[in-house]
């Protein structure tokens, strides 16, 4: 399948649910969506970019537009080609074929030091023989900028990241979190049009990482720069980015907003990669307007769900259902479109929420999630309980691959 087709289908997935039910939107929206505006010129364009290392194809024919002021995430497991894509944009790798265009200028053949992008490295790559100040000012010095101006810009960057106290220290005298901030300050000090972040928070512990994520967003917003982040952490990608490209084996599987990726995945792969999901394999037996009836096994009640685009009868499909969308109850709901009985085999109590693993009649296990909104309940759902799972037809997404 060509990359253009993947992108095409992802875009229909993006706009799909929105068009069908205009009143309902799946996730928080900022109103910032330059990719929907055909008059906007993208700041970065990957055009049919391919990268091979010997026999290994790291990036397969990728075409992608990224717009000014976006916080764009390249998300995927290790070895999916996301870092190679970023390194090609920085100029450390040359595409085997294809072009890379930044701000209308073809930069494919430019050396790294001639490109209007700055990168924050996974290992931070701070110069060990220079102080924090000198590290941050390094890029400005290369531009032969006047000394007072360099000092002013370094001061600005240090203030933005609260590094002023450490100005005279060497990198090895700083904690991991402080080093990470120096690396970020150095990447933004030149005020580049695009900042590239290669797993920027990978070395931090979880609590620091969450703090740093919000700091990244704050800085991206205040500087108005385009940020492109590479990460394997789906939560991180969901938190910080305006759009996510989910990658696998050098290909984009879906390019969409975090909300759309989560609520309208275009494939089993994407649904599985982002968050928890229950998958039901079945066949479409009837399409009725927006809804399809899915037969998922002999003798089992058919599911009713939103029909995928261009869905025909007798097509193999998978219903993807997020655990938190499933209601769990002792009694069979009277007016539910989709309800299946099962037995609780596992309960995970996390305080704010509880996880339930329910085994259905055919042996399939389903995860359901419930918020513990009341402090006490009359009779909590427990192991070995017979329960009913129920969900409305529009909560599940049917995918064909």
């Amino acid at each position: 399948m060509s990359e253009a087709a993947v992108l095409g289908s992802s875009q229909t997935a993006t706009s799909g649910p929105g068009q069908k039910s205009p009143v309902r939107t799946p996730a928080p929206q900022s109103g910032f969506a330059p990719w929907k505006d055909p008059s906007r010129e993208p700041i970065v364009r990957f055009q049919n970019v391919v990268k091979r290392f010997g026999d290994f194809v790291a990036v397969k024919d990728c075409t992608l537009d990224i717009y000014e002021r976006e916080f764009f995430a390249l998300l995927g497991p290790s070895g999916c080609g996301k870092t190679t894509l970023l390194r090609m944009l920085a100029g450390f790798e040359k595409p085997t074929s294809g072009r890379i265009i930044v701000g209308g200028q073809d930069i494919t053949d430019l050396a790294p030091y001639e490109r209007p992008v700055n990168m924050m490295f996974q290992s931070y790559a701070l110069f060990p023989h220079m102080t924090v100040e000198q590290n941050i000012g390094y890029g400005l010095k290369q531009d032969a900028m006047a000394k007072p101006l360099i000092e002013k810009r370094v001061e600005e960057a240090m203030t933005m990241l609260e590094l002023n106290r450490f100005a005279k220290r060497k990198p090895h005298q700083l904690s991991g979190g402080q080093q990470q901030r120096v690396a970020l300050a150095r990447a933004i000090a030149k005020k580049p049009r695009i900042v590239l972040l290669d797993e920027p928070l990978g070395a931090l512990d979880k609590r620091l990482r969450q703090q740093a994520q919000f700091e990244l967003m704050r800085i991206q917003e205040t500087t108005g720069t385009t940020f492109i982040i590479v990460t394997h952490d789906q939560e991180e990608a969901m938190t910080v980015s305006s759009r996510i490209a989910v990658m696998d084996h050098g290909e984009f599987r879906q390019v969409a907003t975090p909300g759309d990726i989560y609520e309208a995945p275009n494939s089993r792969y994407v649904a599985n990669f982002i968050g928890d999901v229950n998958l039901f394999e079945g066949k479409v037996v009837k399409v009725d307007g927006n809804f399809a009836e899915i037969d998922w096994g002999p003798g089992l009640a058919r599911f009713k769900s939103l029909a995928p685009e261009g869905c025909t009868g007798d097509q193999q499909v998978w219903l993807t259902l997020r655990p938190e969308k499933i209601r769990i109850a002792f009694e069979k709901p009277s007016d539910a479109s989709n309800a299946v009985p099962g037995k609780v085999v596992d309960v995970g109590y996390l305080g704010s929420i509880s996880h339930y693993h329910v085994e259905l009649g055919n042996g399939q296990r389903v995860k359901a999630l419930r918020a513990n909104s009341a402090r006490t309940v009359e009779r909590p759902i427990s192991w070995e309980d017979n329960v009913w799972l129920e969900w409305p037809p529009e909560t599940g997404i049917v995918v064909t691959r």
């Binding site: 100029g91 030091y113 490109r115 992008v117 990168m119 701070l126 110069f127 531009d143 150095r186």
Partner: protein, 291 residues
């Protein structure tokens, strides 16, 4: 107890093989020349320590410093050692740089090749240079056959030959510490420098070279210190014009059989070299702290 034993081994070694010989040499330097075996007086006499000590004096030291031959030989040795150290650095740096940048699987082989010359005796290797540098030697034959020169070059028995000999002999001592410090440099630092707008030659001077400084310093000391006292190379390759303290010392011992004066020369040489040795130690210490 075991700790103490462990530490005592190197100390014992130093006492037996460095301090004791040093004191013997120091004692001889305070004696007078004599036509005897051994060729100096007084010899150590346990029964008359007072009489023995009263015969020792610093006469030989006064003599060394009053005779410009010795002072010039010291300065000339330091000058030759310093220039050859610089030349060695210039030759070794690109080699070490190339090694550090070579594919990882090649590097052990390259290190092996650098130390391979040690498998042949140092003396024989210096002799081999005579065959290369002499008038009808390989180098002159080669250049004349190429038509680069019509007359054979006079390199043998000049200070130039000494420089060539020292650079050749001590090259591994420069390459290895340089390679060790260059190889440690994280390649992403150079990517970061390039990313921030620095072309490769600028990155070299701003990032690579400063970070290789510990290796540069270590290598320079490792070459400079032994080169200062070098006597085989100036003796075999140098001419009469080449004045080096090692050669003077050797002549004093074996041609003049003046053990007391040559011992004094050796002690002063040691004192001269204490300064760079202490500086070298300090550099090593600093590196260890940084690591």
């Amino acid at each position: 107890m075991r700790r103490w034993l462990l530490i005592s081994v190197p100390y014992l070694w130093l006492v037996v093989f460095f301090l004791v010989p040093f004191f013997i040499v120091f004692k001889i330097s305070l004696s007078d020349i004599a036509t005897a075996i051994p060729p100096y007086t007084p010899t150590f006499d346990i029964t008359d320590i007072r009489g023995f000590l009263s015969q020792l004096d610093f006469e030989n030291y006064a003599f060394i410093f009053s005779d410009s031959l010795y002072v010039n030989a010291y300065f000339s040795a330091i000058k030759i050692a310093a220039i050859s150290t610089l030349l060695t650095l210039l030759v070794a740096y690109p080699i070490a740089y190339g090694m550090a940048r070579a594919p990882k699987e090649w590097q052990p082989t390259l290190v092996m090749l650098v130390i391979l010359p040690f498998w042949t005796s140092f003396l024989i290797r210096v002799y081999a240079w005579i065959g290369i540098l002499k008038k009808e030697g390989l180098l002159n034959l080669f250049l004349m056959n190429l038509g680069v020169i019509s007359e054979p070059l006079t390199i043998m028995n000049t200070t130039t030959a000494v420089y060539i000999g020292i650079v050749y002999s001590y090259l591994p001592f420069m390459i290895l510490p340089l390679y060790a410090s260059l190889e440690k440099i994280n390649p992403s630092l150079l990517e970061a420098a390039a990313d921030l707008g620095s072309p490769p030659w600028k990155s070299f001077w701003q990032v690579t070279f400063p970070l290789s400084l510990p290796g540069v310093i270590a290598g320079c000391f490792l070459v400079f210190i032994p080169a200062t006292g070098e006597f085989v190379i100036p003796d075999l390759l140098g001419g009469s014009e080449t004045l080096m303290i090692g050669k003077t010392l050797w002549g004093e011992f074996f041609s003049n059989r003046d053990w007391p004066v040559s011992s004094a020369v050796a002690v002063v040489l040691l004192l001269v070299l204490v300064v760079p040795i202490v500086l070298f130690q300090r550099n090593q210490e600093k590196q260890r702290e940084a690591a």
